[in-house]
């Protein structure tokens, strides 16, 4: 995720130096959140193991979540929001580690496109994450130490299976909608594929049905950066009291480039210099873009666990919806009753419109009701998190139409226009 508004820091550009004093308070907050999140948490015992695509089941395990709004009497108004790669359950509430507002407050809240006065909104931390759902930073019940790489590799389908167990535990048979952008969109599509009867509608934004070779390549660069950091300690840095900040920051820097468009980078930074009149003929952050990326990298390592980054990037790399259905995407959605809304952005080169179109074509071939819009935005993949009014209007319109069909009462007289 990018900062919605970014201001050039007044201070000297940060160096990517592992000896920088760690924001100890944040780091220890984050470590506490892994096992004992300050959000709601559903704990499953050995009687309710979570089966994983990789083979073994895990138990006990837990899933951390937040809810907003009220579940109605017939339990028909629940919307599950799936977060992106490094997001969390705090979609519309203050993040306990960073102290920052929720990551999608533009979309979710009272009177917002996903209206919490009308819908009961659930958002959970993904499996493999680090804010309270079982992940590599969680304590392994067998050893009393963090799982580290002993946690089996997880997939998007595993994340969705965990969410489905949460939703069942909350007493909800069918979700009114599953909504997500980027990796969240993959989960939304996976929900429709895995549990077609449990999803009335799906909103998949800026996403794909599979990770491309280029997507995998960028993720591999990030993982190698993490693992090349001596502080990674073969994945056991938490016990060693260390943190592979440098590697994780580099991973984030590389990934962050993919979230923005060439045009938006150029508009924002051009070749502007950072706090200097001329280039310094050295390897300091001469350019604003360098300073910006370093800032992004350093801000990230305080709030995210390095091993968790390996797990969530791997999950998206393994994602290929069609692969489980003979390579034919249309077969994934055969006979589905779910209503779909697919959105893409013109300047998103991470998950370009052509991949959303492939999903739409498959849904058409399967006879599924589908809405699709490519939204004009020059801000790249991150557009889905930004203030793009067109996106909000469409999500609101789609959900209102679906709610009418589902018979969910609106908070006020609804204008069909």
């Amino acid at each position: 995720m990018a900062l919605v508004v970014w201001k050039l820091p007044d201070t000297e550009a940060p160096m990517l130096d592992a000896t920088l004093p760690e924001t100890d308070a944040q780091a220890s907050l984050r470590r506490n959140e892994a096992d004992n999140p300050s959000s709601l948490v559903m704990r499953f015992g050995t009687d309710a193991p979570l089966t994983l695509d990789a083979g073994p089941a895990i138990a006990p395990w837990q899933i951390a979540y937040q809810t907003y709004g009220e579940l109605n009497a017939d339990r028909s108004n629940a919307i599950l929001i799936c977060h992106a790669l490094t997001g969390d359950q705090h979609v519309a509430s203050t993040n306990p580690v960073t102290g920052k507002p929720g990551w999608w407050t533009l979309m979710v809240g009272p009177g917002k496109p996903i209206d919490t006065d009308r819908f009961f909104v659930i958002c959970s931390n993904v499996l493999g994450g680090c804010l309270g759902t079982t992940g590599p930073a969680s304590t392994n019940p067998e050893t009393g130490q963090p799982y580290g790489l002993d946690l089996p590799v997880v997939t998007i389908a595993d994340m969705v299976r965990a969410q489905a167990m949460l939703v069942t535990s909350l007493g909800i048979d069918q979700l009114f909608a599953v909504v997500g952008g980027s990796m969240g969109g993959m989960q939304a599509l996976q929900w429709a594929a895995s549990y077609p009867d449990r999803v009335f509608s799906t909103v998949a934004i800026a996403t794909s049905y599979r990770h491309s070779s280029q997507n995998i390549a960028f993720h591999e660069v990030g993982r190698q950066a993490v693992m090349a950091d001596p502080d990674w300690c073969g994945g056991r840095y938490l016990e060693a009291g260390r943190n592979p900040k440098k590697g994780l920051a580099v991973a984030r820097m590389a990934a962050h480039i993919t979230y923005m468009s060439d045009r938006s980078l150029h508009q924002k930074f051009g070749r502007n210099l950072q706090d200097r009149e001329a280039v310094a003929f050295g390897f300091d952050a001469d350019f604003q873009i360098e300073s910006y990326l370093r800032h992004q990298g350093m801000a990230f390592v305080d709030r995210f666990d390095a091993n968790s980054y390996l797990y969530v990037t791997r999950a998206t790399d393994y994602f290929d919806l069609a692969a489980d259905h003979g390579g034919v995407l249309a077969n994934v959605f055969k006979g589905t009753k779910t209503r779909f809304c697919v959105l893409s952005f013109t300047s998103d080169w991470l998950y370009p419109t052509s991949e959303s179109r492939a999903v739409v074509h498959a849904l058409n071939a399967a006879g599924a009701p589908v809405s699709f819009v490519e939204i004009d935005s020059d801000r790249g993949h991150d557009s889905f998190l930004l203030d793009i009014p067109e996106q909000f209007r469409i999500v609101h319109g789609f959900l209102s139409g679906a709610a009418r069909v589902r018979g969910i009462a609106g908070p006020a007289a609804e204008d069909i226009r």
């Binding site: 209503r339 809304c341 697919v342 739409v360 074509h361 058409n364 071939a365 006879g367 009701p369 589908v370 809405s371 699709f372 819009v373 490519e374 939204i375 004009d376 067109e390 209007r393 469409i394 609101h396 319109g397 789609f398 209102s400 139409g401 679906a402 009418r404 007289a413 609804e414 204008d415 069909i416 226009r417």
Partner: protein, 211 residues
């Protein structure tokens, strides 16, 4: 709350005619659906399972914003993805003149739908002929508002031309309704030549022979 009277009063007259041709509860694909006015009318008044394709982003955004199942796409290239006979009706309203390959589009529509509904402006109308003959200019009017050099309408035809095309693709006209310039229906008993001269627009219900 918009009631049905409001919904139907400002709808293009050909859309109302099309809606009347469609069986309640059927599956309908509207190609070139614009902002979804027809789809909304059909969903509200006929209870149909309505889908749309629209090439312009503004049109799609407006339609999806109304809660309709509409995708951004191109009639000339995107119809191939739909399975045979997957809709009861495939509608092309005031769009055929903007397609690159009208014959192929009509062929695809007849493949996808059991019934096909086409509405079109008649380029054989008296007013058009008058402008060409006496003014020597391509007609620009309220119904045909574009200049020849920047019009999306690249394949104008007359009612007679269209009926010939229908024959050519092996389909037949199950019903034809022709409206004059004031939007009044021309009597069914009039010969084709009169329809072609006085008809400002026409709505056709077609099916492939043998269906």
């Amino acid at each position: 709350m918009t009631d049905l009277a409001d919904l139907t009063s400002d709808v293009r007259i050909d859309l109302k005619l099309i809606a009347d041709l469609i069986e309640p509860g059927s599956r309908v694909l509207d190609i070139g659906c614009g902002d979804g006015a027809l789809l909304e009318l059909l969903e509200r008044t006929r209870g149909v399972d309505a889908r749309g394709i629209e090439i312009s982003q503004e049109g799609v955004n407006a339609a999806v914003g109304r809660g309709l199942s509409v995708i951004q796409g191109d009639a000339d290239s995107d119809l191939v993805q739909y399975p045979d006979q997957s809709f009861d009706y495939v509608v092309l309203s005031h769009t055929i003149q903007a397609t690159r390959n009208a014959r192929r589009v009509l062929d695809e529509m007849l493949r996808i739908g059991r019934h096909v509904v086409v509405s079109l402006p008649n380029f054989g109308h008296l007013d058009v002929r008058f402008r060409l003959m006496f003014l020597g200019r391509m007609p620009v009017s309220k119904r045909l508002p574009y200049s020849w050099y920047d019009t999306p309408n690249i394949h104008f035809c007359t009612i007679r031309d269209f009926v010939e095309l229908v024959k050519d693709v092996g389909a037949h006209v199950d019903q034809a309704i022709v409206l004059d310039a004031s939007g009044k229906r021309l009597p069914f008993s009039l010969p084709w030549i009169v329809w072609n001269l006085l008809g400002a627009q026409a709505v056709f219900l077609l099916s492939r022979d043998g269906h």
